[in-house]
Amino acid sequence: MEKKIAELRERVAKIMDIGGAMALMGWDQEVNMPPGATATRADQMATIGGMLHEMQISPEMGALLEELHSQVDQLDYDSDDAALIRVGWRDYQKAVKVPVPLVMELYSTMPVAREAWRKARSGNAFSQFQPHLEKLIDIELRMAEALGHSGNPYDALLDFFEPGMTYVYIDTVFSGVKPQLVALIKAISEADQVDDSCLHGHFAKEQQLALGRLVAEKLGYSFEHGRLDLSTHPFTSGNSYRDVRITTRVDETFLPSSLMSVIHEAGHAIHSQQGSPTLYRTGLDNYSLSIAESQSRFYENVVGRSLPFWKYFFPQVQALFPSLKGVALPDFYRAINKVQPSLIRVDADEVTYGMHIMLRFELENAMLNGKVAIKDLPEEWKARMEQYLGIVPPNDAQGVLQDIHWSMSPMGYFPTYLLGSMFAAQLWAALLKERPDTPAEVERGEIAPITAWLGETIHAHGGKFTLDEIAERATGGPMESAPYIDYLTAKYRDIYGLA
């Protein structure tokens, strides 16, 4: 068995090298690639993406995994080797159903779609992106058919991002929290509003980036193994756990836009950087997206929008931006937690954020099931914005075209943001129980203990466990939404003085 495991590791190592190369090329396209290079980059992505898939589903790989999987019970369930076999077999069984040419088609379509999205967004013209989105959905539907599903093609795609996740499961969870979010938003809207004018003004780009660097480093992000750049849409890209890069974009008139994005992305990046070195080149350094988003949302919101956090950082921010000198800390804290229905998901507050996700979740499901024609998407978007948040985007750039996701990955990514937010609150509750001094530590600028706890509880495991397995190990129970609602209610009751 040892010899077979060594062989598996060798095969997987090569596959992961190619995966790392693809990640770097994706980063390059967003950050550095000259615009005229899209077509040839698409060829390259298709070739190496196809090759990666071919290596993943080779008959040798299948035989090796099948044999090892039949003996996996001899190994400790939590060991790296057991996870390598378990996860490898699970992924293989999925991947082997998808033909190589279809994978190549997807990879050659995405870079072009991404460029089209960028142009459509800056030109505010959905019609330029529409044919690309139609083409991608056609490919995604064919992938879903190849993978197989019990009625809803969305399930086949969701499974990529969160193994075992289905539309019905997510719909049940979301339906449970929706009325509570709606009620909270309504109560807040009827309370005295928070004044966030101190966050609007002029905040020079260079200083914003300097602040982002400072905060990211303090949270535990290593610039020795990463870098911070600018891109249209903030993202994190891991070429390996030794090279994890983050990006942001800067709005000089609104302070939190870049800063909170940097904290969000740094959360992702710390997750990767703290992966166990033993998982390097095993594929187990990739983890499900709900787990990923739990970490970014944890740093961004649970830590990054908390009062203790700002007790420590606010003086440093004041030093960088003199316009904040006369602002009192409690006012600043309330300002960065101002709840207000708004157009842009990544800038949304914690309370309305969930509504942005539910809207996308419903539209993805509708698109994949043919219930919405792509050409009608902008109108459908506006109608739901009106219904959920009472506001309507004046144009598509601030509406249906705001997110890069549909141009760069199959549908099914968005719900993981909300699941991740929920899990983040659950983790916070567990952390407070284990280490009640945590808020006091944060006030003193001691964030290392949190990062160490997450490292041990979550990061080190990479993709060895499913969301529920991780939740079980970290919190003693499965993923649940109650702590999330408790967290939001308590926090915003206090900020808005609700009954």
């Binding site: 190369a21 290079a37 390259q44 020795e224």
Partner: protein
């Protein structure tokens, strides 16, 4: 034949894309990669390149190439297809004849030797480097033994890897008469009143230098829609396709030409890559695809054409100097364009090849060529290398390095296994002048175009004559096609004597 050709192209597209992906990773490593990312990056590049190698050397590809050979008889030898079939066979044979175990051993040895070279250079101690260099050269000789059949000189096998169709005898026929002329010219210049280059040694802020470099690169034709310019430790050009060609430079704030002339040099390489015919796209031979520059020296002829023949000409600066004055407010106000031109063309025997002027440059190359030939043929021992080096420096340039770090150990090439590569730098310079003479003959008004800052027609001419062909032709073939004759040293000497005779009032 069409079916076999289509199949072969499909395989080669894969090889091409794998090597292009590896190149993206290499570029990133030199420009943006955080220091901590080196180890995984080495794994990723090695995996991509070895897959490229494996696909190119597969039995299937070998069979297709063999099946296509008879078709050569019916094809127009100038057609893309004929070039592909011809070159694919040549590359395949090399890859197939040399055992892959030897290649692996060479790569490992060269990697170690490069590390040792860095340390030895820092310690200024050749004895540290000597055993490693001996290993590299032993393996080179073993490598040669697999490919030497029919070669008059084993060194020719190595030359052919970088410059197909050129032999050491041909190079000697050019270098020997040229050497006497250069030594004489250097002596004459040394005896004349010296040029003052202090105008180029003022304070030029980094951002302004980068901005000005961009302006110049764009003006001569570099397409930023399909390329970019960044900073790196050593300037280089790299391409992932003709649609994505990237150049780098480095900056010294107190010496303007250091960055500017590097940028123009690299832009010359890049213009070549951006101009390769789209019909050759994705014909991925190993280790170099068909859609890249023909050879080392042709590439160098393009970079030096832009850097020296144009970039260090008076006409060029008659156009750009006012812009340079505007780009560096207050810095060059009191400088006359003629003085600036002379500053850019200061000649002085110096120790370091990469910083040498146009006149002395050739002598640095000849010295290396002679030593390489002697080493590979066993006429010289590695232990005697420093002495031999210093003796030639004295003989050709009249100066002797104070230690080996600025002498025999200044270049990375030998440690990295690049033996047979140096002569191509000079062949490129020589050919660049032949191209210039030909261009002026065909378009007598070209100098006026340069004065007016019009570079589009020059580029169009180079595209037509050189760039679009990619790797289809060798240096002798291109020389014949474009200038109607073989590579010749006389125009080069004439160019240098005229230009520097005027600069130094000889």
């Amino acid at each position: 034949m069409q079916a076999a050709l289509a199949q072969l192209k499909e395989h080669l597209a894969r090889v091409h894309d794998l090597l292009a992906a590896a190149a993206v990773l290499e570029w990133d490593q030199e420009t943006f990669m955080p220091d901590g990312g080196a180890q995984p990056r080495a794994h990723q590049i090695a995996t991509l390149r070895s897959l490229g190698h494996r696909f190119f050397t597969s039995e299937e590809v070998g069979r297709l190439i063999e099946d296509l050979q008879p078709a050569l008889a019916d094809l127009d030898p100038d057609s893309d297809e004929a070039a592909l079939i011809r070159l694919a066979k040549k590359e395949y044979d090399v890859q197939a004849r040399v055992p892959s175990a030897l290649i692996a051993r060479m790569e490992e040895t060269e990697r170690m030797a490069t590390q040792t070279w860095q340390k030895a250079r820092q310690a200024r101690d050749f004895s540290l480097f000597r055993p490693e260099l001996e290993k590299v050269l032993d393996l080179k000789r073993e490598y040669v033994s697999y490919l030497a059949e029919g070669a008059a000189n084993p060194y020719d096998v190595l030359l052919d890897r970088y410059e197909p169709g050129i032999t050491s005898a041909q190079i000697e026929a050019v270098f020997t008469p040229l050497r006497a002329e250069l030594v004489e010219l250097v002596r004459a210049i040394g005896a004349a009143p010296q040029v003052d280059d202090s105008a180029a040694r003022r304070h030029f802020p980094v951002d302004a230098q980068m901005a000005f470099s961009r302006v110049v690169a764009e003006r001569i034709g570099f397409d930023f829609e399909h390329g970019r310019l960044d900073l790196s430790a050593h300037p280089f050009t790299i391409q992932f396709s003709a649609e994505d060609v990237r150049i780098t430079t480095r900056v010294r704030e107190n010496f303007l030409p250091y960055s500017l002339m590097s940028t123009i040099h690299e832009a010359g390489h890049a213009l070549y890559e951006q101009g390769v015919s789209p019909a050759l796209y994705r014909l991925g031979l190993y280790p170099e695809p068909l859609n890249t520059g023909a050879s080392m020296s042709i590439h160098e002829s393009q970079s030096r054409f832009y850097e020296n023949v144009l970039g260090r000409s008076l006409a060029f600066w008659e156009h750009f100097f006012p812009q340079a004055q505007a780009a560096f407010p207050g810095v060059l106000d009191d400088v006359d364009v003629k003085d600036f031109y002379r500053a850019l063309n200061r000649v002085e025997p110096s120790l370091i090849r990469t910083e040498a002027d146009e006149v002395t440059y050739g002598l640095h190359i000849m010295l290396r060529f002679e030593l390489e030939d002697a080493l590979i043929n066993g006429r010289m021992q590695v232990k005697d290398l420093p002495e031999e080096w210093n003796a030639r420096m004295q003989q050709y340039l009249g100066i002797v390095p104070p230690d080996d770090s600025v002498g025999v150990m200044q270049d990375i090439h030998w440690s990295a296994g690049l033996v047979g590569y140096f002569p191509d730098y000079l062949l490129g310079s020589i050919f660049s002048v032949q191209l210039w003479d030909q261009l002026r003959q065909e378009r007598p008004a070209v100098l006026d175009e340069v004065r007016r800052g019009e570079f589009a027609d020059i580029l169009a001419w180079l595209r037509e004559k050189i760039h679009r062909h990619g790797r289809k032709y060798t240096l002798p073939e291109l020389s014949e096609r474009v200038t109607g004759g073989p590579l010749a040293w006389q125009p080069y000497v004439h160019y240098l004597k005229t230009k520097f005779g005027e600069v130094y009032g000889l």
